[in-house]
């Protein structure tokens, strides 16, 4: 065996398993593959937006005195219910957490989604249907001039109220 190996290694016709040439060839191939993949990943970064059309998500809802005690006001463009009771203000989004349809608030204060029949109670907790979580409570704050401002992209823990 040893003699055979010697013979192969010294022979001009049979190269040893890896040569400098092989190494360079493999290195070049893999460099090209890595470069191509990185270029593709770089190109695919483009469709991932860094600014969203709704980025300015803070909206003035009105002065606190506009809303009577015990009132429920619907902002249809914001898909948002604003409630005022003794504790203060609270805002619940009517966008269903299942697949994004707009849930309708019935006279009993419960929400019903027309798309797949999800049901939510008065505070937005899931009562039935496929919705995975309760309706979103939207962050409320007071602007320096004393307006109620809703941040439609940031949610707060349910039962958080704004005193004003």
């Amino acid at each position: 065996m040893a003699a055979d190996n010697n013979h192969i290694e010294t022979s001009q016709r049979f190269a040893p398993p890896a040569t400098r040439r092989d190494f360079l060839g493999l290195a070049a191939t893999w460099s090209a593959i890595v470069a191509f993949v990185m270029a593709m990943l770089g190109a695919l970064r483009l469709p991932m937006p860094s600014v969203f059309p709704e980025s300015n998500s803070r909206v003035k809802l009105g002065r606190p005195d506009r809303f009577a005690l015990g009132s429920a006001t619907y902002f249809s463009k914001l898909r948002l219910w604003l409630f005022r009771d003794e504790a203060g203000f609270k805002a619940i989004s009517s966008v269903c957490t299942h697949l994004g349809c707009v849930a309708e608030r019935g006279v009993d204060g419960q929400y019903l989604c027309p798309c797949h029949g999800s049901k939510f109670d008065e505070i937005g907790a899931v009562k039935g249907g496929p919705a995975p979580k309760g309706l979103v409570w939207v962050d409320l704050s007071l602007s320096p001039e004393g307006w109620i401002v809703a941040d439609t992209l940031s949610d707060v823990d349910p039962k958080t109220v704004l005193q004003a």
Partner: protein
């Protein structure tokens, strides 16, 4: 070869010296001018009329558009029951969609403010606009149907078996692309139907949150939100989403689909033509004698690449006919039937166009196109399972069929014979019973959230255990049991595929007919409450 003796070919005039005023050149110019049409034709079609077998072969072989076809085709391939013409019909529908789609692009404006108005223009003002749009819409529906039927044909005739295994996988890719083309096209009219169907679709893309929320990892790894943002370029369906869907619909997906169609066709040739049973070659029927001189013009030495033992002298030719004109007649007939059906549909039935999209008021019920309605029923149990996990399992499971069932058996036989027909029938009964049973149970008694003791189970339980996942589990168990008791992976595959087909059909029917406002159950649309 022709210049063996060094003599000149008489057909080419030797270049001769000319002097000024030589009338010969002018005369030649005149006769060249007169014979230009014939010379032009002969330069395009470089062989004579397809009267001999050799010329017929050349007609196929030397034509760019036809050379994907073999010059001779097995008789089995053109029997109506072999393919039912479904592959050709699907391809023709794709061509119709490309042509009518480009025509519609002339007037369509992918802008939130103008899209709906341009649809109205196309329907009411543009000459032939209504017909072209109708044909485009019905062809899209028909293409989805034909792709599914074509897949069923390939499956039941075992045409996915080696060496055609990978072509089946490419076919699955084309199936997904066809659905993607339909879905992206669905948004473009910018009507209520479009807006809410795509809102639902985009939120299905976001639904992996259902799982990541349950695992408490959404804040580190929110793939659901990421998918929705890439798809819509926003958090709601709007201008960004419209332009993205437009680019996908008219450019990205059609190009990828066209390339894959090319690969799909190419591999049919490379895999030895359409799947045919062994008896198709062994029949004792006398075949018409060949009136041909089968010697090829060139020999490429392909014999060196043959895998089999010896080339079959004078046997390969039996049971075959020239592709020109026999197969061309079959392809032509299937194409004409397809085009005619689409024209009739487009002429007599208008594609739906509801009122303009209103992001504040959802359609009630908001129904997806028919081929997604079965999924929408599953989505009404759990968004993630019905919209992402189960479709992924089905597509992946179907793509893997050729690798999980590698039994060597005859291909090209419907249902693989009597045993397979029995398995198909029994599996169909089983699937129908389970699906109808589950639907009846869910409609009558509800599910976990409707029952006192389980009303507050965590979401992960509902995600993993709902009527949809129960059905999938039952189908999987049924097919494993079939593998076990029939002792055959092919029979297990037939059982699973049949369950999938029957489940799809029943769920689609149920969601189309029996689901009304608030996704409640109604026997018919006339029972729907009036607002």
């Amino acid at each position: 070869m022709s210049n063996v003796g060094g003599e000149h070919q008489t057909s080419h005039k030797p270049l001769r010296e000319r002097s000024i005023g030589d009338e010969g050149a002018l005369g030649e110019f005149g006769s060249n001018l007169i014979s230009t049409p014939v010379a032009l034709r002969d330069s395009i079609v470089r062989h004579g009329k397809p009267t001999s077998d050799r010329a017929k072969s050349q007609t196929i072989f030397s034509n760019f558009f036809l050379h994907i076809l073999p010059v001779r085709t097995h008789l089995h391939a053109i029997k109506a029951t072999t393919t039912l013409g479904l592959g050709v019909a699907t391809f023709v529908l794709f061509i119709i969609l490309c042509v009518t789609g480009v025509l519609l692009m002339v007037y369509y404006k992918p802008s939130v403010d103008q899209a709906y108005a341009s649809m109205l223009d196309i329907m009411h003002v543009v000459p032939t606009g209504r017909l072209i749009r109708n044909v485009h819409r019905w062809s899209a529906h028909a293409m989805v149907a034909c792709v599914m039927l074509h897949m069923a044909r390939a499956f039941y005739t075992a045409a996915y078996k080696r060496p055609r295994a990978f072509n089946w996988v490419i076919g699955m890719g084309l199936f997904v692309l066809t659905l993607g083309l339909s879905f992206t096209g669905y948004l473009l009219p910018w009507d209520q139907l479009a807006f809410w169907a795509v809102t639902i679709g985009a939120n299905i893309a976001q639904s992996p949150q259902e799982l990541t929320d349950a695992l408490g990892m959404t804040q580190y790894f929110d793939i659901g939100l990421w998918q929705k943002e890439v798809l819509l370029g926003a958090h709601q369906v709007g201008q960004e989403a419209l332009i993205r869907f437009y680019v996908l619909h008219i450019m990205v997906l059609p190009v990828v689909t066209a390339i894959l169609i090319g690969v799909h066709f190419w591999r049919i040739r490379k895999d030895g033509g359409l799947a045919r049973p062994s008896h198709a070659d062994a029949s004792s029927q006398e075949m018409p004698a060949l009136a041909s001189e089968p010697a090829p013009l060139k020999s490429y030495g392909l014999m060196a690449m043959m895998k089999d033992k010896t080339p079959a002298v004078n046997r390969e030719m039996r049971h075959t006919i020239t592709t020109w004109p026999n197969v061309m007649y079959v392809i032509g007939a299937a194409s004409m039937v397809t085009v005619l059906a689409m024209l009739l549909l487009g002429y007599f039935f208008d594609a739906p166009l509801t009122e303009m999209a209103n992001p504040n008021v959802p359609e009630n019920p908001a129904k997806a196109p028919w081929y997604f309605l079965g999924l929408q029923e599953l989505v009404s149990y759990s968004a993630f399972m019905g919209g992402v996990a189960i479709p992924a399992i089905v597509v992946l499971g179907l793509a893997l069929v050729p690798y999980l069932d590698r039994e060597k058996e005859d291909v090209g036989l419907w249902f693989s014979g009597a045993r397979g027909r029995r398995v198909t029938f029994v599996s169909g009964l089983f699937a129908a019973a389970t699906v109808i049973g589950m639907l009846w149970f869910t409609v009558s008694f509800g599910w976990l959230r409707n029952w006192e003791t389980t009303a507050h189970v965590p979401q992960i339980v509902i995600t993993l255990f709902n009527p949809g996942t129960v059905l999938v589990a039952l189908f999987a168990m049924w097919s494993v049991a079939t593998v076990r008791f029939m002792n055959s992976t092919r029979m297990g595959a037939i059982a699973l595929f049949t369950c999938f087909v029957v489940g799809f059909v029943i769920l689609t029917y149920f969601a189309t007919v029996h689901r009304g406002p608030n996704w409640d159950f109604y026997w018919s649309q006339s029972d729907w409450p009036v607002h």
